[in-house]
Subunit: 323 residues, 2 copies
């Protein structure tokens, strides 16, 4: 299989592009019909850093890479439209596994409502990597910088499951087989909160971020960008129930998975009280649980109340360049 | 330096974003004001495959990576607006060299009229790589598929210089020092033909492609996508004069550099005769030489007339996956 045959095999995996795609894969560029404001984001994954062959199958690698990029669009209050993919292939990867990456890419793009419109395929002497660019439409962008004193601090879904699932995949098994299976599934198949993000933007949320690096890191991002202090109630943080079971069986702190685990791709944000009340009402309609976990105050940093004591929550999580 | 400090150091190198950027680097996504039709392209470069540390300095690596992506926008008849960059950094690269990549990124973005609006920085155990996504505005896209029998086949600038420059950098020295310096400069600093591409689109060119893989490969792309035969006159192909000097000193065929060398980032295209006449008139205004090198006929494939004989020009050039 040569480069052109590989590109054809990858493109054949993809669903037909949407009606807003004038020139699809195969020319110098894709051409699309732009509409108003757009969100653009790029997210890269590297074998050995973001995944391993024994923790994710090729379709799972492809699915997660697209989901992670699209999650950034959701965190801006937008919805994804177009995706490009750069893919670097090492000689040691069988080409059928490379093509199988695109089963996951295709599934993610279809289910998230985006068209894969282009990319680049190159060889590398190093590990396999993918760089995903997602372009979406966004009417009212919600950055990290709008949190105001008095706002409610909220988070969607439940946290900690992805990191616990990864720990299990890396051999640290504990708890019931059912709980372990649920955590592994959570790691392998995140769901970007597109519909909730759009509602949050429409209703007037003041800040929004997706949880890729762990809740602690994202809270610090919002506090710093907005110039406010965030007060978190530890017992309100929605830790995934299986995480609690797993962590207790290990003798570990379940909350640490939620705070520092990352890759849950839930949304964390802030909103005035009346906006949050409307978000609570709309949450069941978009199928996304949401919970208030604290509030915004004047000041700086992130402070958590746990068992009656206050502690500072440091920005901690994966850092690529601690040299 | 940690990940956040590195990102700040990279962002500090960049010129201020354009007025159409509502949310710049630093949030989940960039948000931009879209306007009508847009071209999207992604282009990746990998150390050891697309460049080596001894052939390009870090700023040259950054400049060329951006120029190569923007060239795809030019080949669609568009002009670039926004760029995102995924960058993977191996432990062996000094961080000051990583930051210096962005001197070139910044220079390319400024000179080509684009804003760098985001990206991702990750670590890797393999070679350094960059994946560049460029999004541009395009009024009338010119694909590879519109060439029609009777059209003139044209090419901009001169060809072969980049590949000859690379050969010299890899130690294959020949010819005068002045010619060698010109060829090395040509390799290190390509110029995407944005203004010419836009004029070609506006005036009614029927096909357009940029020369990244060599003229032979791009001609075959156009012939195949358009369902036509291209007839090329060998003695009209504008080989860069220093390439002729260099190749003759080596005992090599200068034309082989133009046909198979690649990375010249000139444009090759087709246009009806009257459109080509207008392109000839506008070429000096946009500072881009253009030459007719043949014509479009019914049939398929690419045929070159050289010294009175006809030969088929095969698609040849760098192929990432010849296994």
């Amino acid at each position: 299989m040569d480069e052109f045959a590989l590109i054809r095999a990858l493109a054949a995996k993809l669903p037909p592009p949407g009606e807003d795609v004038m020139v699809p894969i195969g020319d110098d560029c894709a051409v699309v019909e732009g509409k108003g404001r757009m969100a653009i984001t790029t997210d890269a994954v590297v074998e050995g850093v973001h995944f391993r062959r024994d923790t994710l199958s090729p379709p799972q690698i492809g699915y997660r890479a697209v989901a992670a990029a699209v999650s950034d669009i959701a965190a801006m209050g937008g919805h994804p439209a177009w995706i490009t993919i750069a893919l670097a292939v090492p000689g040691a990867w069988p080409l059928e596994d490379v093509v199988a990456l695109y089963d996951g890419v295709s599934e993610a793009a279809s289910s998230l409502g985006a068209s894969v419109v282009g990319g680049d395929v190159v060889s590398t002497e190093g590990p396999l990597w993918m760089s995903i660019t997602a372009v979406g439409k966004v009417d009212r962008p919600v950055t990290r910088a709008g949190a105001r004193p008095g706002d409610v601090l909220f988070v969607t879904g439940s946290l900690g499951g992805s990191a616990a699932g990864l720990d299990i995949l890396l051999g640290r098994r504990a708890g019931s087989p059912v709980a372990q299976a649920a955590l592994i599934a959570r790691h392998r198949r995140p769901t970007p909160r597109i519909a909730f993000g759009r509602e949050a933007a429409r209703l007037g949320a003041t800040a929004l971020d997706d949880i890729s690096d762990g809740l602690a890191s994202e809270l610090n991002e919002i506090a710093e960008a907005s110039g406010v202090r965030l007060i978190v109630e530890a017992d309100r943080i929605p830790v995934q129930p299986e995480v609690t079971e797993y962590a207790r069986a290990l003798g570990a702190d379940p909350l640490a998975y939620a705070l520092y685990g990352g890759e849950d791709y839930e949304l964390v944000g802030t909103a005035p009280r009346d906006v949050f009340a409307r978000l609570l009402a709309v949450a069941p309609i978009v199928g996304t649980p949401v919970a208030a976990i604290g509030r915004v105050e004047e000041g700086d940093g992130v402070v958590m109340r746990r068992a009656g004591r206050l502690e500072v929550v440091a920005r901690k999580g994966y850092n690529h360049f601690e040299r």
